[in-house]
């Protein structure tokens, strides 16, 4: 066993501090150590995106990142995006437009979509399909996911305009 490393990490606004083996993966930290089970494990090779989190402002697949690499980082998971009293417009839109079925890809999918709309608040369908291509869904065929993201973008833009 290699020597444990001292890690500090902010997850969904809460600071965490612990000792971890250098080989500990970020998804393991989240799910097993911190009991944050929204991000899921689907492939362990960065293909499926079920484990997607936002790390220092970027979408990251937490199944192929060591927690040691995330030392000092700010991490946001689905749990930090919106809860029962304050759903994010994307969470609302996925419900409204049947953008999910089994729900396994959904946390990663929405986490990625939040980032996508931050990067590009007014995406075309093509830009959404390209921007979401790192997140696999086995159930929906993506059509309603695309629809959900387009609807959320419109909703968020309208809200922004109203606020201005």
């Amino acid at each position: 066993m290699s020597k444990k490393m001292h890690i500090t990490l902010t997850v969904n606004g809460k600071e965490e501090e612990f000792l971890a083996e250098p080989r500990e993966l970020l998804i393991y930290t989240l799910r097993e150590r911190l009991n944050i089970t929204g991000p899921h494990i689907g492939c362990e090779t960065s293909h499926c995106g079920a484990c997607t989190v936002t790390l220092n402002g970027k979408s990251v697949k937490s199944c192929t990142m060591f927690v040691a690499q995330a030392d000092g980082a700010e991490v946001t998971t689905i749990e930090g995006i919106g809860g029962p009293d304050s759903l994010h417009p994307l969470q609302e839109a996925f419900k409204e437009h049947h953008g999910l079925q089994c729900g396994y890809c959904t946390p990663g999918m929405i986490t990625r979509a939040v980032k996508l709309l931050e990067e590009n608040p007014n995406p075309t369908e093509e830009e959404i399909r390209f921007g979401m291509a790192g997140n696999l869904c086995r159930c929906t065929g993506y059509q309603n996911i695309v629809k959900s993201i387009l609807a959320a973008a419109a909703e968020m833009n309208a809200a922004k305009e109203a606020a201005e």
Binding site: H40, C102, Y104
Partner: protein, 805 residues
């Protein structure tokens, strides 16, 4: 009274019953990351198990040395077949009447086979332990080709008496599993021998995998104090798993509680029983701690439940005018090292005998030979009823090949051979009684929607341009018309391990007019909590929003055979409606009592019973529920509950008409799906939004299978497609937008006329995508090329036809 002023239309809308695109009740938890999947389960003191797996496809195991592994801090135990043998658990029965090694007993038969189970305090320690288990293998000759297996002197299953019959009759060779026949052999051959036109094709429906995004897994917890075993897992059939666990472990069934929590997609992968479940149970008994086992993606793709691997040879005959006269099909079915297909007992090749499709074919014969090879066991129904994807692909390719032979338009050939509306109920040459259908209406609607004639004209123009060197792109028009056979099934001919394939629903109405209903099925994303409440809402007149649906806990839910083969709506959905009708019958008596009239003088109207001819005198179902618990009604027991076990009189037969338009770059082999039109007839439509979602998803899995997804082996039996790097799952980028449409032909024997829809799009989609590719090359002499049509294979098809010269 408020109810009084509401008009009927509002009262119907308020129920959110049949036909309503009700939003899903499941989505609140899933969108907030609060689903509860098996890997989310955490119990005090829980430990982890994982497998040492064979790197070889066929080898003798000379020794296993776990000493070094046991030295690893955190490793608690290493189980091998020797440890399981005294318990009689080193082998387990399969759903197909065969048996399968839980842990390698003397030899391994496929790469990835479970050899030892390492139990450790955490997953990292388990992985360290696995690395240090020393297994001494002696390699044996590997057979990955079923035709070779039937010729070879190499006996794969040394545990079986080569001269003894198998579970499905006599065996022709030590590597042969069964022969299964349907239809009439000699008459079919005679018609074929004397026919005007005969078309032939050999096709290989490749091996693939359902690959749900969540892999298989379980948590076993043996409470030694109370003698109770709780088993959480990714089970599509939790009740059947309980019975199987009881039978093989000897633990009495009332002491076993099986729970399917949220399941991250199944598609057939999670029907069977796997060594991981058995080993977790044993490890929990041995250690006294809860044991979790979760597959990684490679484990999943390499070992649990492949689909298809059917080598199909067909002959079809017709008159000069194109009227089909006979169909013959022979299948060599590669089942891998153990026969672990998930089919009803009497159907070792599933419902492959639906392969006469949607056509009125007077004479037919089907023969299937199952074969052992050094590949993973399985043969599950990946998003289809038992082997129906294979059957529909077969007939929809045979139709296309016959159209070529006749030099006829393939849409017209289908049209003149469809079973006509007035022929239903129709008994097919291979035995099934199709309950209902209106194929011509659906077909005409589909062809009109896509402007079929316009497409053919455009295609002809494109071929001219191609020949003139003006374009390097070809256009393919893929057609498919499918009939599924789902909703297994009548107990008289459908059982799994002797368990009749009925299903069930139990309803309790609460005093304040809300309800809970529990079913023997289990959702894996289909939205049962939403749709079954809709069926009930229409039956019992309480709003769907006031009805909780619960499934998956064998301690609380009534016994049922689970969710696969699109059987939930046809079977459990029927049980739900029937249980609802029992509630309504009692409610009628209560209403009559409250209204002081005879039982026959009240009638049900949306959400209430009204006095006939006096609609202002009524009792709502809410009133009735309250009365059921709070009034002493002479001759009526208190309470309002019902249970129904439904044994369907027949299968249901959903059908559909699909058209796909593709452009294909001849020089790169890259196809572009320009349009996909899908018309589905699933009978009565419960929730159109969910139906549409199921169609999108099924078509996308069809696209995957037709266009690139496969489990490929090399000659050494190595799996070449064991990660998502090599195993094709389409992304949002590759998937088109689909146009959905429908007709409604209710099932005459189902209480609400529903037929099931989850798998139809997959069944009809695969031949449609494949036919589009094949159709593009038809003008250049293509008859049949095998799937998957990835870019490389499409390029090869073009190349073989001389299109690069």
């Amino acid at each position: 009274m408020k109810d009084d002023v509401e008009n009927r239309e509002d009262r119907v809308a308020n129920l959110k019953g049949l036909g309503c695109s009700r939003k899903r009740v499941e989505d609140a938890r899933f969108t907030q990351g609060k689903g509860n999947y098996v890997d989310d389960i955490k119990l005090d003191g829980m430990i982890f198990g994982d497998f040492v797996r064979s790197p070889y496809a066929h080898a003798r195991i000379k020794s296993i040395d776990a000493a070094a592994a046991l030295e690893v801090p955190g490793v608690l135990a290493v189980l091998t077949a020797k440890d399981l043998e005294p318990l009689g658990l080193h082998w387990m029965p399969t759903l197909a009447g065969d048996k399968q090694m839980v842990l390698a007993d003397g030899k391994v038969l496929f790469q990835g086979q479970e050899v030892a189970f390492v139990v450790a305090e955490d997953r990292y320690a388990a992985a360290d332990g696995i690395e240090l288990v020393e297994v001494d293998y002696e390699e044996l000759p590997v057979i990955v080709d079923p035709f070779e297996a039937l010729q070879s002197d190499v006996v794969l299953r040394e545990d079986l008496d080569p001269n003894a019959p198998g579970a499905h009759g006599p065996r022709k060779h030590p590597n042969h599993i069964f022969t299964w026949e349907a239809g009439d052999k000699e008459p079919t051959e005679e018609v074929l021998a004397n026919a005007d036109v005969v078309a032939e094709a050999s096709m290989y429906y490749h091996r693939t995998h359902p690959c749900p995004l969540e892999t298989c897994g379980c948590v076993a917890s043996m409470d030694k104090v109370n003698g109770k075993l709780t088993l959480w897992g990714t089970f599509q059939a939790p009740h059947a798993i309980r019975t199987v666990v009881s039978l093989i472990s000897g633990i009495e069934e009332h002491n076993i509680r099986v729970i399917s929590p949220d399941i991250g997609g199944g598609f057939g992968n999670k029907v069977g029983a796997y060594p991981g479940y058995v080993c977790s149970v044993v490890a929990s008994i041995v250690t006294g701690k809860p044991v979790k086992w979760i597959e990684d993606r490679m484990d999943n793709l390499m070992t649990t439940a492949f689909a298809r691997d059917y080598h199909m040879k067909g002959r079809i005959s017709a008159t000069k005018e194109g009227k089909i006269t006979a169909l013959q099909c022979h299948v060599t079915a590669d089942h891998g090292g153990f026969d672990a297909c998930a089919d009803p007992t009497k159907f070792p090749a599933g419902f492959m005998n639906i392969c006469t499709g949607s056509y009125d074919i007077p004479t037919a014969y089907l023969e299937v030979d199952g074969v052992y090879t050094n590949k993973a066991p399985g043969g599950v129904s990946y998003r289809c009823s038992f082997r129906v994807t294979e059957a529909v692909y077969f007939i929809e390719r045979m139709i296309e090949v016959l159209a070529i032979e006749l030099d006829m338009d393939a849409a017209e050939l289908r049209r003149i051979n469809f079973i006509r509306k007035e022929q239903f109920p129709y008994t097919a040459a291979l035995g099934w009684e199709y309950d209902s259908g209106d194929y011509h209406t659906a077909w005409e609607k589909a062809l009109k929607a896509v402007d079929y004639e316009g497409l053919r004209a455009e295609q002809a123009h494109r071929v001219e341009d191609f020949k003139a060197g003006k374009t390097r792109s070809l256009m393919g028009i893929g057609l498919s018309f499918f009939t599924e056979i789902v909703g297994a099934g009548p107990v008289k001919n459908c059982d799994i391990l002797g368990l009749g394939m009925f299903d069930s629903c139990e309803i309790r109405i609460h005093p304040t007019g809300s309800a809970i209903a529990r079913l023997g099925t289990i959702s894996q994303g289909q939205g049962h909590a939403t749709t079954f409440a809709q069926i009930l809402a229409s039956e019992i007149g309480l709003p769907a929003d006031s009805i909780t649906i619960e499934e998956g806990d064998t301690d609380t839910a009534p016994y049922g055979l689970g969710t696969y083969g699109s059987r939930s709506t046809p079977v459990a959905g029927a049980a739900t409606a029937m249980a609802g009708r029992k509630i309504r019958a009692k409610a009628q008596m209560i209403a009559a009592y409250l209204l002081e009239v005879h039982d026959d003088d009240v009638e049900f109207d949306v959400d209430r019973f009204v006095v006939k001819g006096a609609p202002e005198r009524f009792k709502t179902m809410k009133d009735i529920a309250f009365a059921a618990y709070n009034q002493a009604i002479p001759g009526i027991e208190p309470g309002l509950e019902a249970v129904s076990y439904y044994d369907p009189p027949n299968m249901t037969y959903p059908f559909g008409a699909y058209v796909c338009v593709m452009d294909i770059d001849v020089d790169t082999g890259v196809p572009e799906i320009r349009r996909f039109y899908a018309l589905d007839d699933c009978g009565t439509r419960i929730n159109p939004m969910i139906i549409e979602g199921q169609v999108h998803g099924g078509l996308t899995e069809a696209l995957a299978v037709a266009m690139g997804q496969e489990i490929a082996y090399d000659d050494m039996g190595n799996v070449k497609t064991g990660t998502l790097m090599d195993f094709f799952l389409p992304t949002a980028w590759e998937v088109p937008n689909y146009e959905t449409d429908y007709t409604v032909t209710p099932s005459p024997h189902h209480p609400i006329g529903a037929k099931g829809v989850g798998e139809s799009p997959h069944v009809g989609g695969v031949p449609c995508f494949s036919n589009a590719i094949q159709d593009a090359f038809r003008p250049f002499g293509n008859r049949h090329t095998n799937m998957p049509h990835d870019h490389w294979r499409i390029w090869k098809t073009a190349n073989a036809l001389g299109l690069h010269d």
